[in-house]
Symmetry: C2
Subunit: 286 residues, 2 copies
């Protein structure tokens, strides 16, 4: 099943057997004080620089989150979207928990964006899905609900089914839904890694939709996070994840390796090309 998203001029396809689609996570002020301060002041220069750096590092799409204490998202999110559509020609992932900001951002967008995210909570389903439908967007379905974080693969599956059913009932085609299997910190819950991987396999098998994982969450609180993230994303890609939200510059070599292992890189063209680029300009992340 292929999920298509687009900027004004570029289409990106997420799908089985295709190279894993990388969504750059760096435009997000969570845990980044300087970016939060800039956003609070309405200054989008750091956003512009992060966008260029991630495009250069090989991002296929960019997540855009401007949510921080003191930021007026309803005004700033559409501004950031407008800016980014002029800076990089990549589809955007509109990341907000504020439905009014989401509506404004969808309005400002040219092309078919990805909405991040709808959850299994009734309030979220009722608010976000109509916007997704009206604007013809694609949407990330995050497997949490009123009960909070899912405790195992079973709960993840149940919420995924609920989100897909509600979206389809509203006329959103199944191929426009990506399920985020909700990776959690393995330091806090040692069983969550395998639970997510089982959920990835079963969502693919039972629902057929594309599956996304956020590759940076698993390593929260641990040293050498890149090592841990790489191990997790390799396993997630081999289990069937077709899209990652990640720090692209750091994870891309491991993603290309996992794509080759999982048969998504015929003739190893992308793997070898990235290797050659690292050889010729070792400081540039490929």
């Amino acid at each position: 099943m292929d999920t298509r998203v687009s900027s004004a001029a570029t289409e990106v396809v997420v799908g089985d057997g295709r190279p894993t689609v990388l969504i750059g996570e760096r435009i997000n002020p969570t845990g980044r004080r300087a970016l939060a301060e800039a956003l609070k002041a309405g200054d989008l220069e750091m956003v512009r620089r992060e966008a260029l750096a991630q495009a250069q590092a090989g991002a296929d799409m960019l997540d855009v989150n401007v949510s921080a204490f003191g930021v007026d998202e309803v005004r700033l999110l559409p501004d950031a979207v407008s800016l980014l559509t002029n800076v990089v020609d990549l589809p955007l992932c509109l990341d907000t928990a504020n439905p009014v900001a989401l509506a404004q951002a969808l309005n400002a967008y040219r092309g078919k964006p990805l909405v991040n995210s709808v959850t299994g909570e009734e309030k979220s389903l009722a608010t976000v899905l109509p916007l997704v439908k009206n604007y013809g967007a694609a949407v990330i379905g995050l497997v949490q609900d009123e009960a909070g974080m899912p405790a195992n693969a079973e709960q993840r599956l149940a919420i995924a089914h609920r989100i897909v059913e509600r979206a389809e009932a509203m006329g959103i085609p199944r191929e426009d839904i990506l399920i985020d299997c909700m990776a959690l910190a393995v330091g806090a819950d040692p069983g969550s890694g395998l639970a997510v991987l089982e959920a990835v396999r079963r969502v693919r098998a039972e629902l057929g939709v594309n599956v996304l994982v956020a590759a940076s969450n698993v390593s929260f609180g641990m040293p050498d996070r890149q090592l841990l993230n790489s191990a997790f994303l390799s396993a997630a890609i081999c289990a069937g994840a077709t899209c990652l939200i990640a720090d692209v510059a750091r994870v891309r070599p491991a993603v290309l390796a996992a794509d080759l292992i999982s048969g998504r890189d015929r003739r190893a063209r992308r793997y070898i090309e990235a290797y050659r680029q690292r050889q010729t300009s070792p400081t540039r992340a490929t």
Copy 2:
């Protein structure tokens, strides 16, 4: 299901939920001319040094293969085994296609070794399994047979079932069998990576035995082999592999990361300890 092997003084347990057991692959002259020449001259000094280096790098067991053109394995393999039992206190994996050399090596061994390997070929089953039974060893069952390399997961499963049935019929307990799911070069067969991973999952589910993969084969012919091997072994461990044959110094950080992801490293004790060792002595592989 726990597989127990031992040297004279040390027991190693391979099993579900336990840390992945690492078998050092470096005592093997395949593709290593200097080692092949030394073995041909009966000189075991390089073997001794490789054993110490791998033990230092964190190997749980050592594979011992002295097979090269011009080497008398029947004489040299038991000599190497005797030497190694004095040099390192790790269980050994006796790696030979020569049944007479295997018998001599089993005779020279003190403890319970691992035999590498029996295949699904009638000749191998009939020759190797009686030796395994007589010496009370554990054995690696390699999923190839008269038809050659397995083409998919299905064929791997069929051969694994055959090996386990034959071994059990001969009185070898199931817990003394590790199935090697036969990783192949992804450069030659892009589908083989996922086929091996599916076989790992199904062998664990259908037969319950421990599963081993040789982590270095997948990257044959590719650049940056360590990157590719790490991606593959992370996925293999998360799929249920409990034992790896690998270049321990190169893969150990990725293995500890995958063990943490897959719930085999409670409180992240081993992961954090290895990280600290890398920080204090960065040139020493941990």
